[in-house]
Every structure is written in C-alpha cells, then in structure tokens.
C-alpha cells in the first residue's frame, strides 16, 4: 500500500483506539465530582462489565444464534454495569465523600484492585476471546486504502454513544439534574435535586460507557483482567490534558494523544513501538506545565 494509504490506515486505527480511551475519559469526566477525583474504579467496572457481557452472551449464543446472542450479551453487560456503578457509588464511594484526597484516590484503587482480582478469580487470568459480530482482522477497501472494520465500527459506535449522552445531558430533566450536581452539589440540593441519587446515575452511566468501550477493546485483543490497565491510564491522561471539567476536552485529548502516539511510533524511528507510550506522558508534562488546567479546562487546578 502506498504511503498515503498507510498514513490513513494509521490515523483511522489511532482514532478508533483513541475513541476507546475517549469513552472512558468521558466516563471519568462525567463522574468528576468537582474535585478532579482520580477514578481508578471506572476501569474496574468496565472490566467486570465486559466479562459479564461475554458470559451472558455465551449463555445465549447456543440458544438464539451468534448475532442475537452477542447482542443480548452486550445489553446484559450494559444493564449490569448500570447497576454496578450505582452500587459502587452508594456503598463505597459515598462513604469517602468527605475524606481527604489521597484517601479517595486509594479507595478507588482499592475498588479497582478488588474487582480485577475477583474477575481473575472467577474467570481466570488468561486471555479469553470475546465473541463478536466480526473478527478483528476484517478490513474493507475504500479506494486505495484498506481500513479495518473494527476501527470503523468502534469509532462510529463511540461517536454515536457520545451523541446519545449529549442528548441526555442537554435535553432531559435528568441530564439537567446531573449537570447541576456536578457543577455545585450543595446548591443543587437546595433546589430539591437528590444529590445521592444523581451521583448513582452518573456512576451507572459511566460504568456502562466504560463497559461498552471494554467490550469493543476485548473484541479485538481478547478479555483478560489486566488488558484494560492501559485504557484506564490513557483515559486519565486524556482527562488531565483535556481538562478535568471538559467532556469535549477529554474526547479531543484522547483522540489527539492516540493519533500523535501512533504517528510518532511510525514516523520517528527512534521512538518506534517501544517508546511510543512515552509520548502521551511527555505530553502530560508539557501541557500541565504550560496550562495546568488542561487545554480546555476552566476550573483552576492550580493551588495559589
């Protein structure tokens, strides 16, 4: 394939991969409780959700065939993760609402570690393939360029999800409530909005979003408890670079990071595949030094 074709393929794949990080980053920004909570637990819930999806799917595939079974699995995963997210918020995170920052962070780390450990115990630590609608190696030709089906589907799915979320947030009463709680929860309470309930919804949505991203990733790289550590760290990087309180920023940053990383890996031989992971993190340093609130951030994260 010609160099242009390679470039396009690289960018498309990067956008697809980046959209996964974007989904999780968006989830993290969604539950951002105005303190920029480092939320490792989101990753854990995404992992668990994807395993549940595989299990449910596995149950139904022999009954109703492959496509329907996979679909049911995904729906089941989303439903389970909605509940899981709400549960974790209500019974774990709420307990630490007024704790110090480092306590909250460690609590989310505890949740992540516990969930991943449980997943490993229940399903094993080896990589399991995730049955999906198509295999990850399929590609289609657009003109001169060969593009992976997975990349297209992933990218479009995530974009569609974000559209749905936008509708929810801007167009519904619940969305208004969620945003009010995220903006100023004591004030929202004074208008009668049930802050605890909204937080649970927020976490549930975030868990569901993360789960879908995890399922998409699993369909390509298989399911393994630690496969998703990568997405989580990249997602957090995107949140920080994009700005803690900016959903758009998180998405743009996630896509940008991934594209830059891929391009650097491909076109700067010194970096190559080995060092490409360094790119996003060097970016973090650069952005935070120059603009501590992130590229699109508004609230000050700088202590005076």
């Amino acid at each position: 394939m010609n160099p242009f074709g390679t470039f396009v393929q690289l960018v498309v794949d990067a956008l697809a991969q980046g959209s996964l990080y974007a989904a999780l980053a968006l989830a993290i920004v969604l539950v951002n409780q105005a303190t920029g909570l480092v939320n490792f637990a989101q990753g854990g819930m995404a992992v668990l959700g994807s395993y549940i999806g595989m299990t449910i799917g596995g149950l139904f595939i022999p009954l109703v065939g492959s496509t329907a079974g996979i679909l049911i699995g995904i729906i089941g995963a989303v439903a389970a993760s909605l509940l899981l997210g709400a549960f974790v918020e209500r019974f774990v995170m709420r307990r630490f609402e007024r704790a110090e920052e480092d306590t909250k962070v460690v609590a989310t780390i505890g949740v992540l570690t516990l969930i991943v450990g449980l997943v490993g115990l229940i399903w094993g630590f080896n990589s399991i393939p995730y049955p999906f609608f198509f295999t990850s190696s399929e590609s289609i030709r657009i003109g001169d360029v060969s593009v992976s089906v997975w990349s297209i589907v992933t990218f479009l799915t995530i974009i569609a999800l974000m559209g749905v979320l936008q509708l929810l947030f801007r167009g519904t009463k619940m969305g208004l409530g969620l945003r009010a709680v995220a903006d100023n929860s004591p004030s929202a309470a004074l208008s009668g909005i049930r802050v605890g309930g909204m937080r649970m919804v927020g976490w549930g949505l975030a868990a569901a979003l993360g789960t879908i991203a995890a399922i998409l990733l699993a369909s390509k790289s298989g399911l393994a408890p630690n496969n998703f550590d990568g997405i989580l760290v990249y997602a957090l990087a995107a949140v920080v670079i994009g700005g803690l309180d900016s959903p758009i920023g998180a998405v743009v940053a996630a896509l940008g990071i991934t594209v830059l990383e891929s391009l650097a890996a491909a076109y700067i031989p010194w970096i190559g595949h080995d060092l490409k992971v360094v790119v996003p993190f060097v970016l973090i340093f650069v952005v935070l030094i120059v603009r501590p609130q992130g590229l699109f951030g508004r609230k000050a994260v700088v202590r005076v």
């Binding site: 480092v38 307990r95 704790a99 505890g110 992540l112 570690t113 957090l236 060092l275 992130g294």
Partner: protein
C-alpha cells in the same frame, strides 16, 4: 485494661521497648535461619520505601502513585557503579558511590519533578506521578545496554582482581569470615534502615513535621502562618525521592539484582496500599506496611495463592479504609476508643455541622 494503654504511652516504656527491639534485631540473625533473615531484611528494604511514601502522602497529603520510579532509579544508581567498578581498584568504594548516587539522583529527580508538579492538585498531580514509572520503564528497556533491560543486571558473580593479580568472581555483598552472607547483608540493611528511620523520626517530631501537618490540613492557614505550602510539599517529595532511592540501594544489598521490572507501575500501587494498610501518617506504620507487603508477596506466591493476591490487597485496603483509616498502627488507639465508648462515653452533641467529618483520622 486502661492501665495497659497508659503504659504504652509512657515515654520510658517506649524507650525501653525500643531498646528491647534493638537487642532482638541484633541477635536475630545469629539464631534464625537464612530464610528468616532474608525475609526480615526484605521487610526493612520495603519499609524504607514506604517510609518515604508516608512522608509525602501521609504527612503532607500529596498523592504519589509513582514511587516505584524512585526505587527503580535508586536500584540502578546503586548497581551500575558497583558492576562497573567493584572489580577494579575502587573495590568497596564503588559500593559507597552506588549508595551516594542512589540517594542523590532520585532525590534530585524528586526535587525537580516536585518543583513543577506540586502546584497541581488532584488528578493532575496524580497523573504526573503515574507518568514517572510509565515513562521510565520503556526507557529502561530501550537502553538495555546500560540497564540490562528486562533481564536486568546481576552482581552476584562479578569479576575482581585478587591479591595475587588473578581474576576471581565474587559478590560485593558477601560476608567476611565469621558471618554468613545473609547475616552480613541483614546487618547492613537493618543498620542503614534504622538510620533512615531515625532521621525520619526526628524530622517529623520537629518543626518540619508540624509544618507538613499544617500544610496538609489547610494550606490557607499554613500560608498565613508564614509556612509556604509550596516549599514544604517540594521538600516532602524530595524526601520521598531520597527514601525511595535508598530503598533501591538496599534492594541491591538484599538481592544483588535489579531489572526494569523494579520500575513497574503496579509496584507503586502496591506501595501505596501497603502504606495505608500500615498507617500512612506514622513512622512505625511504614514497618507495618513493609510487613504487609512482604506477607502478601511471600504468602500469596509461596502458597500458590498468587491468584488471590489482588482480591486480598483490594479487599484489605477497603476494609482498612472503612474500619481503620489510620492503618494497622492505629489499632491500639481504635480499641481504646471502642472500650471507652462501651463504658458509656459522651453522646454525640447535636449541632455538629454536616460537613465536619473526615474519614481518615491520621495522627
């Protein structure tokens, strides 16, 4: 019961208990077997690292999820000079150089990073700390000529020039006559660890410790008292770097080996968990943390229970955070409180505002 608790807070009792501890530590390797000595040494190695983390996280309240960076860099700073120069005329001097570098370079790095990072808070600061091992590990793998990459560097059998001019192979940390290797390494590690613990003890007893605590609880008040939060946070991070590096050096004394794995991010998480479980705001807590870390490491792996390791760590940390936020070291205090309450203590007064509670009651 209360008599017991009164006793434990008594100064002379504590000094006496410490003296007994020193004697026990001194005599232990002579009577215990190799495995025990190595385990206790390993605990000390980790405890020094956790102590550094306690100072920056527990005492000063700064999230640090990149501690394995300092330990790993310290280990390299120690092992590379030893590997290069121990065999030549410098001999033991190489070890000294290694030690100095292992506390100087990570400390310097901690300082530089802190100068930039400390102005940030929350997620931003945490990401900078996460970035450290994440960047360092692939770099260490890439420059494997220098660092040994994934395979690492071992100094168990180094070439050196003997008295007769012949080349022999030896271990820089082998014992002289009269002691076994594990005993010698034990004494070396424990004495260095004790020095670092003593330094930390005096640091937090004095004005620095008080300053850290004030900065942690309310920066506005700190500034108004003339205590610069920025400076003290930078100091805390630098100390964490130094202690992490020292732990790296001790790791080399313990096992004469390091690799890029030492830098791995998951170790940072393990350090943080161990720190909180032991008691993040306490000097002795670091020891408990070290015990927990090694316990999980050895028990889980030794008993083929490795697959339960994550569940145990996650479960324990959540239990600790829920029930005993001050860590294991605060257990006596918590029991005391429980006993007092059972005896019909004071009722909670009405009128306590909704926003005054803090989960983590550290000392």
């Amino acid at each position: 019961m209360s008599g017991f608790f009164a006793l434990t807070s008594n100064r002379w009792f504590r000094l006496g208990a410490f003296g007994v501890l020193l004697v026990v530590l001194g005599v232990l390797p002579l009577v215990a077997n190799e495995f025990t000595n190595q385990t206790v040494s390993h605990i000390a190695v980790i405890a020094v690292a956790i102590l550094g983390l306690n100072i920056v996280m527990g005492y000063t309240g700064q999230v640090s999820l990149g501690h394995s960076f300092f330990v790993g860099i310290g280990a390299y700073c120690a092992i590379i000079p030893i590997q290069a120069w121990w065999g030549g005329p410098l001999a033991e001097g190489a070890i000294v150089i290694g030690f100095v570098l292992s506390i100087l370079i990570p400390g310097l790095l901690g300082l530089l990073i802190a100068l930039v990072a400390v102005r940030l808070r929350g997620l931003a600061l945490a990401m900078i700390t996460i970035a450290l091992p994440t960047i360092a590990l692939p770099l260490a793998q890439k420059f494997s000529d220098f660092t040994g990459g994934n395979e690492g560097i071992s100094i168990r059998r180094l070439d050196y020039v003997g008295a007769d001019g012949q080349i022999y192979k030896g271990n820089p940390f082998a014992a002289g006559p009269g002691l076994d290797n594990d005993q010698w390494q034990y004494y070396l590690i424990i004495s260095i660890a004790l020095v670092f613990f003593a330094l930390a003890y005096f640091l937090v007893r004095g004005k620095y410790g008080r300053a850290f605590a004030i900065v942690k609880s309310n920066e506005a008040i700190a500034s108004s008292m003339g205590i610069s939060p920025y400076r003290y946070k930078v100091l805390a991070f630098t100390i964490a770097g130094v202690y992490g590096g020292a732990s790296g050096f001790l790791l080399i004394v313990w096992g004469q080996y390091t690799s890029s794995e030492t830098l791995a991010f998951h170790h940072s998480i393990e350090y943080v968990i161990a720190s909180i479980v032991g008691g993040a705001g306490s000097i002795i807590g670091a020891v408990f943390g070290g015990v927990f870390y090694i316990l999980v490491d050895q028990v889980m792996n030794g008993l083929q229970l490795a697959k339960y390791s994550a569940v145990v760590q996650g479960g324990v940390i959540l239990v600790i955070l829920f029930l005993l936020p001050g860590g294991l070291v605060s257990l006596p205090r918590a029991i005391r409180r429980l006993v007092r309450r059972r005896r019909g203590g004071h009722t909670v007064e009405a009128g306590r505002p909704a926003d005054s509670a803090s989960v983590n009651t550290k000392q």
